[in-house]
Every structure is written in structure tokens, then in C-alpha cells.
Amino acid sequence: MIHAYQVVVAAPYIAALVLLVIPGYRLGAIANVAASGLTFGAGLWLVVSERSVGDYAIVDEFNIVFIGINTLVGFTTALFSASYIGHEIETGRLTPNLLRFYHAMFQAMMGSMNLALVANNIGLMWVGLELATLITVVMVGLYRTPQAIEAAWKYFILASVGISLAFFGTILIYLAGQPVLGEGVPAMTWSLLQEAASQMDPAILDLAFIFLLIGYGTKVGLAPLHAWLPDAHAEGPTPISAVLSGLLLNVALYALLRFKMIIAGQPAALDPGPVMISMGLVSLIFAAFMLYQRRDIKRLFAYSSIEHMGLMVFAFGMGGPLANFAGLLHMAMHSLTKSGIFFAVGHIAQAKGSQRIADIKGLSVTHPRLAVAFALAVLAISGLPPFGVFTSEFLILTTTFARDPWLALLPAFGLLIGFGALLMRLQDTIFGEPVGPAHRVDASSVPMVLHLLLVLIAGLYLPPALIGWFQRAAELLG
């Protein structure tokens, strides 16, 4: 009997192997879409399938939220990539061989992320997340320009710091669990660890959480550990930027939250809440100010991702069913919107032949439809109604306000600052005299429009079934 979670993990890996031997990049791109579609199907199947807890895999309300988003955005990104990446061959930035490698790595990365998400073993979760990270390191350096290699190198150095600290934290969790659960696999099984948390040594748990927070926090892009993130987004292929922002950061956050759930089971250990609240706020406000200085459009939205990850970490740090619900919703909305924005940015970069904001003026004159879509997407991410991001940000702020009115001022302040910066940049790119070349855009706009529609629908009407599902997930988070 095959389970849905097995398909979700195995299908991308098998596809990666197949893609390595498929000749011709057009066929490879189609196969990539097909494989991602299959994984998305498996993801949907997982959502409706039975929840189960095994030795190595876990399926509960909490991780299917992440897997659902992961497989959906993976599928739409593959669609976007298929129509986008051919252009890179024409301009000579990629060779057909590199593209074959790119497609295989894309699938391997999706498989690794799904592995991290379904793993019930904290070691396996670590392996999945690290594999996904290292594959993105290679992808960031794919264009092999000096800047791309430098970005990949920086990413590698900082990611390896994260890798090591997270692994050391994992060892410490094992050490805390070992006296209670015995040697071997049980002391690394997340569900058992969570149940036994109250009997574990609080001092080891404290130390472990600090290491895990710094280690996985590097991957989430929390300031001051974010230095890799803007470079990696700017220099890699655009579909990878979309997946990085939309998915990989989420998976890292997921790992962090799983460990938060363990630590929360031991009242004598340190309370992860305040630590996460302060780290989230620092990232949010810092990134909001950094938005003003950006000259590269992909870097701009990379900082916006840091801002939103900060807000999520803040919400999960607040805890409680309502704040957790808002945090999960915000994560879903941010993933959809941000990857949609990167699709639009890919279009713009192709139209203008540049990612410098100074070169992208007067988009409304040269590419009116693209300009409208891009403007709507940016308005959505900056938190304007009627889009879903507004709903989730509003929920986060109101729940915070209800509990601690003064504390709510800080995220509100950060969001306003970020809003101003995004609006300013939006004006620069959309209006004014067009400069530079204006090429025709070949890439398909279907994924971008689809994401925008989903975010719009979520902002106008959240189906009760979805609300119930997210609420159950939020309750698990405690």
C-alpha cells in the first residue's frame, strides 16, 4: 500500500533521475512540469488522506499546510520556468546541458523539501532541509558569472554555519531525549520527543533551542543572519528566487516550529516565545528600512521576504491559537504572493534585459498588462486590501493589540515603513519615461495571474473548510 506522503517525497527524486538523462531542454521542461504536477496531485491526495504517525514519517494537520503550499508553488513555478528558461538559452546565459542539470536539481530540491516536511525523525528533517539548501547553493551559482559565484560562495559559507549549528542542536535534543526514550531511533523521533518533553532536562533543551534557533534561523533569513539571502535571490535564476522565497524559507521556519513544540512541552525550559518575538521584530523593522536603499529589483523583494518572515516568526512567537492561525495564514499568503511577484520580476527582467530598478522605468507605457499585474502583486505584498496578505497582517496586528497594545505598535511601524518603500519603488518602475530596450515577453503569465487570483480570493472569502483546517493546525502549534 502506497501512502501519499511516500509519493510526495519519492516522485520528485525519481523525476530528478529521469530528467538527468532526458535530452533536449524543451522535453526536459515539459517533463519537469509533469513531475511537479504529479507531486502536486500527491500533495492534494495527502491533504485528504488519513493522518498518520510512523517511525520516520508524520502526517498531521500542521505539516500538510506546508506540503500543500510547497507542492502547489512547486507546480506553478515549474510552469513558469518552462516558459521562461528557454529565453536564457537564447541570450546565451545557459547552455542546454546546464539546463538539464537545472531541471534535475529543481526536482531534487522539491523532493528534499518534502522530505524535510514529512520527516518524523529530527535527523531526517535536518538532512532534507540541508540537501535542499545545498542544491539551491549550486543553483544560485548556475549562471557562473563572477557575481553569481560570489553569491553562491557567501550563501555556502553562511548556510554551512546554519547547517552545523542546527546539527549540533539536533544532537543536543537527542541527548535530552536519550535518558527518557533510550538509545537509538526513538530519541530522534519527533512525535515521541514531544510527548516525553516534560521529563527532559530543561537545561539541555534551553541550549539546544538556542543552537536550533540560530541554525535554522539563518535559513529563515532572520536578521542578523540574513546576509546570504539578498545576494542569493539576486544572482540565481528567477524561478529559483521564487522557490527560495516562497518555499525554502517556509521549510526552515517549519523545522524551527517543530522544535518550538518540543521545548514548549517542558515548562521549566526557557520560553521560546519572547526570543522569537524579538528576533522577528528585529528582522521586520531592519528589513523594512533596508528596502529604501535597494537598486536591484530582486534584492528589493528579497528584503521584503526577510520582512515577512520576521512578521511570521513574531506571530508564532506570540503563540496561542489566534496568533498561530494568523501566522500560518500569513505564511500561505506570502508564499503565493511573493512567488507571484518573482514571476512578474522574471517577465520584467526579460522585457528590459536588466534587473536594475533604474533601468525599469515606464513599464505602463511599454508593457501595460505586465505593469498592471506587477502593480497589483506589489500592492498585495505591501498589505493593501482586498488581498489575502492584508487579512493575515490585520489578524496578526489585532491579536497582538488585544494582548499587548504597546507591542502591536512595533510590527505596525515596521509594516508601514516597508509599505512606503515598496510604493515608492513601484512608482519608479511603473510610471515615468521608458528607458532602455523593450523586448517582447515570451514567458507565460498564467502562473502569475493564478497566484494573484488565489491571494485575491483568500482576501475576499476564506472557505470555512480552509479556516477549520488552519485552525486545527494552529492548535497543534500550541
Partner: protein, 219 residues
Amino acid sequence: MNQAYEISHLLAGVMLVTSFALLYQQRVAAVLNTFAAQSIALALAVAWAAWSQDRPDLFITALIALTLKGIVIPVALRRTVARLGIHREVEKVVGVGVALMVGLALTGLAQALLFRVTHGTASHAREELALALAIILMGFLMMIVRRNAVTQIVGFMSMENGLILAATGARGMPLVVEVSVAFSVLIALFVFAVFVFRIRERFDTIDIEALDRMRGDRR
């Protein structure tokens, strides 16, 4: 039983000493030699753990540490350095004295952190972990205070040595073998990446033709 722990502590201590030695080497070749020594000490420590904890799977980890990190990677890196004629001297961000002082402080920090918080649990594991944490932190330090890509790679691998030591110190932790294999493959990959990176830096292209031309010159 006590003797078993003493030997493992001794080997971990040797690794820590080599971590300090890595910081004061002046030449890239010497850094690579010191790293090879550290990897051999790690291989011995893991082999000892395999024997004393009766976990034969750890012998594989020891073997990987010995062959790949004790011999193959240092030799390959030395060849790369020689062939591409990159700086033989270690490029420093801060001086040896400062680096050693910071290293000492980090070691103290590692001991203080683990000795205080793991009070009451298996004390032997905690000592091994404290040494391992010190080695990990020194690896970071090396990545920060040394500029050259080869020395940064060595810093990373030294950090990874610390991690494997920590993982073997935690009794009965599964996945150690798998993780060490995965890491080693990864390092090989990045050593290769450095190779490509260096060629580009020197010739401003990664065309094989440029390499051929270079070789033609030498002949």
C-alpha cells in the same frame, strides 16, 4: 569503562590542539598538513568509539574520515594550490595573536556552556561535547579570519570534524554514518567548486582552452 572515556577524551583533546595549530599556520601547505592530522585524530576517535561502544557501523565513518579527509582532500587541495599558483601564504584578516586569543575564549565559552547546563546527565558525553563544540567554533573562527577560499574550505571541514565528534560522543545516535557520508560527498563537491572558481579568477574564464594554453607554456 573509565579508560574508554579517557582515551576518547585524549583524542578529542588532540583534535582541539590541532584546531589551535590551524590558526597559527603561515603557509597554506602547513594548514593542509595540520588539517590532515586533525582528520586522522578524528578517525582514531571514531574508531575508538566504534570499538568501545560496540557499534561496528562507526568504523565506516572512521574509514571515510581517514581516507577522504585525512588523505584525498588535503592532497587534492595541495595539488590545486600548486597547479594554479595561488598564494602560498595564508591571507589573514586578523593576526595570529588575536585569532589565538579569540580561539581560547571560544574554547572557554564552549566548556562553560556545556558544563553548566548538562549538569546531572552523563558527564562523559558532556565533556566530549564541550570539546567538540570548541572545535566547531574554532572552525567558524577560521572561516572568518582567513580570507583565501582554500583556508575557508579547511575551516569548514574542521568544523565538520567537530560535528562528527559530537555525534559519536552522543551514545547510540543513529544516522551518524549517513550524515558523515553525505557531508564528505558535499565537501568533495565544494572542493571541486573552489577549483573551478580559482581557475576563473586566474584566467577570467573557465574555458579548458585557457588551461591547455597554460599547460603548453609550462612544457
